[in-house]
């Protein structure tokens, strides 16, 4: 799934996984809750959440609680799992991780989740960056999830390839090269052309992620703030699309398969020199480098710059379904797991970037060097990249539009099957009509 994060080839066991989980999810739960009675809480997460140690810690502090944890390989499969169980009306865990990409769809049925205001959401609301907390509020003012992480985007780049192309390669100079605080897509593509001219190789991995970043940066994305679909006739979006199509035409896209990158070989063989990197993507890059046979010497680095300014991609929430037998204890667990102190530990384990202010400050302060990324202080850089991020309203079909409406025409541009931006845009509109408008 292009939009949902942490997807890999090794992991596409969609249907089977969902059905298997359905079966296990139906298992009966512990007895009714009261006082010191033994309670079993189930929790479903996905991708790399880094919670294993925290579960143990929580069980130790609360001897009456046993945590039954389940982790689904990818966000896309987790979505199928959650949707299937909502449709079935049973089987959801006591705590469920929800990804920002499909939050819009969840908001359609937000009454299937417990209002966390009843369990003290108000008391901790100042923990989070304000936009993250606001994202979790449904149209009726109910809070349906505690934020775990966010996805501020920086730029992954390969220093060795930059050097070979005669470009500066240290983090500060690269940030400067791309325009520093005024970095724009124009500048990014311009440097890309320089790079292409010098090496004959592509500049970025594939166009889907770039487009995703471009759209996420806009004040309003595929939907207006009022929830109206706003693609056809959206001049701003069209201009960005043309800009991207131009860059593809100049050969800047490596046309790699997203989430797979040739089983990581794309990161090692110099097929592309840069990639847009939300915090959690660093984990994907790490995994790909390892499976592709690369290491710290491959030359990847992380720069404190992003074309077009601050942007966020993804991030998750912990929600408590209304079907939970122990909503109070479940909410308590979700609250504890998303507490700044625990978020710092989670970030250390999983490499993602926390959504609470205190945890972010801690990461910025520590500035722990990340060995794989040329010792870049990735936590501190992400904290800097998180500044100025504005949450965008996500409509019910946001991830569908990203993946199934804009995915195919962008792939066509990448492969060269479609040459002109006009044609590709028309394909997107046609798909939008077929899949969303007339669905």
């Amino acid at each position: 799934m292009t939009f949902s994060r942490r997807t890999k080839l090794t992991t596409g066991i969609a249907g089977a996984a969902a059905f298997a989980l359905l079966a296990t999810g139906c298992a009966s739960q512990g007895a009714a809750s009261s006082g010191d009675e033994k309670i079993e809480l189930s929790i479903t997460t996905f991708g790399t959440f880094g919670y294993d140690e925290l579960y143990k810690e929580y069980e130790k502090a609360n001897p009456n609680i046993t945590i039954k944890a389940e982790n689904i390989d990818t966000g896309g499969n987790a979505r199928t799992d959650v949707f299937t169980k909502i449709a079935a009306g049973s089987g959801l865990s006591d705590v469920v991780a929800i990804e920002e990409g499909w939050l819009g769809q969840i908001m359609d049925v937000s009454d299937k989740f417990v209002d966390l205001n009843e369990y003290g959401a108000e008391d901790v609301k100042d923990n989070w960056v304000p936009w993250k907390y606001e994202q979790s509020i449904d149209p009726d003012g109910r809070v349906i999830g505690f934020g775990t992480d966010i996805g501020p985007q920086g730029l992954c780049y390969n220093g060795k390839l930059f050097e070979a192309a005669g470009l500066p390669s240290d983090r500060e100079s690269v940030a400067e090269l791309l325009g520093g605080d005024d970095a724009s897509w124009e500048k990014y593509f311009e440097v890309g052309e320089q790079y292409k001219k010098a090496t004959g190789k592509a500049w970025y991995d594939q166009s889907g992620f770039v487009w995703n970043a471009m759209v996420n940066q806009m004040e309003e994305g595929y939907y207006t703030k009022d929830g109206e679909l706003n693609v056809e006739g959206n001049a701003d979006m069209r201009a960005k699309f043309d800009q991207l199509a131009g860059a593809i035409g100049n050969g800047l896209s490596a046309n790699q398969e997203p989430w797979v990158w040739g089983k990581g070989k794309g990161f090692v063989d110099g097929s592309f020199a840069t990639m847009v990197c939300p915090g959690w993507m660093l984990g994907n890059v790490k995994g790909s480098l390892e499976s592709g046979g690369g290491d710290a010497s491959t030359g990847w680095d992380f720069a404190d710059v992003f074309p077009g300014g601050a942007a966020n991609w993804g991030g998750a929430f912990l929600s408590v379904p209304a079907t939970s037998d122990h909503p109070e204890e479940a909410a308590e667990l979700a609250k504890w797991l998303t507490d700044p102190e625990q978020q710092v530990k989670q970030s250390a384990a999983a490499g993602n970037f926390p959504s609470t202010i205190e945890a972010q400050e801690k990461l910025a302060e520590d500035a722990t060097p990340n060995e794989l990324f040329n010792n870049a202080p990735t936590g501190a850089i992400l904290a800097s990249r998180a500044e100025g991020v504005v949450a965008q309203f996500k409509g019910p079909h946001d991830s569908l539009i990203q993946e199934n409406v804009f995915g195919p025409p962008l792939k066509n541009l990448d492969t060269g099957k479609t040459k002109s931006a006009d044609e590709a845009w028309d394909q997107a509109l046609q798909l939008l009509n077929d899949l969303v408008v007339n669905n």
């Binding site: 066991i13 199928t80 909502i86 449709a87 797979v260 195919p408 669905n439």
Partner: protein, 383 residues
Amino acid sequence: MTSTLNRPPVENSSPGTPRTTAKAPISLKHRLSAFDHKASPYFYVAPFFILFAIVGLFPLIYTFVVSLYEWHTLKGQGDFVGLANFTAVLGDRYFWNSLFNTVSIFFLSTIPQLIAAVIIAAVLDQNLRAKTFWRMSILLPYVVTPVAVAMIFSNVFGENYGLINNILVSFGIDPIMWQNETLPSHIAIATMVNWRWTGYNALILLAAMQSVPRDIHESAALDGAGATRRFFSITLPSIRPTMIFVIITATIGGLQIFTEPRLFDPVTAGGSQRQFQTTVLYLWEMAFFRQNFGKASAIAWLLFLLIVIFGLINFLLSRSIATAEGRGAKARSQRRLLRMRQRQARDGVRAGTAASVLSETVPVPGPADSPEPSASTEEGSTR
């Protein structure tokens, strides 16, 4: 004590009563046994039918009910729309695209697969050394889960880093776009299916071949029939019921392909341009991406009908192929018989009988092979 004292008088009391007193227990027994006789077979077969009703019939009917409504995956039941979902699906170009892909992959997989399975089974049917080893090894791919198969084959068929394209490029040939082009992607998926299922089908066919009586083969061999002749005239017709079974299960499986195309490109539902999106995959996209359960159910029903139609066609085809084979053989043997009789008749002419005029002139108009003239000669000669 009391019972032994009391009983005899009851028996002796009157000759008429034993009937009635005896009737009560016997009739109950009778009724029970009659009930047992009539009902217990139904109880014995009931588990299957109850299970079928729960996991087969109910979902089938429920799916149909869902398909008559506007039904959002998450929000649930909406308005009743009658057959609108069906007409919408039938007018949906992606549905037809998925049908085309399904049928194309079906043909690319089922036909070569069955031919290969028959040949492999015929080879294994011979007297080989280490029989069990060969038989087990053809079944091995079937043991591997489709997920693993798909992962291995997507390495082989990768576009940028795949095994085949690496070899092609090293010979200076253009790499094949296994995932982005329609026909290559269908071939790649059909290969996965074939790899997994050929051995399984071969084993079933082998079992059928083993049950063909050896003496038929032997007598045919004595009559001078070669191996090929025996295969087509004895083996194939004898395994016809099994062939029908294999063809029908292969049809059902082939039209329901999901795992292989799903995992061939784990990021999209059947390729970025839907170039290998099968109908089941489209159904899945409809239900879980587009959240339209109503339409997804309509697709499921249309697919069900399609499979029934394909199954029927295949059933009729495989029946008629096998019977045509039998008919041909019969016709040939009849013709041979006739020719023999003609020769006898001619011998008779040379012997100088009055029938000579008739039997010599008749064969001239048509070739000896055509049945009608020879039939008339038969009549003539027998008279």
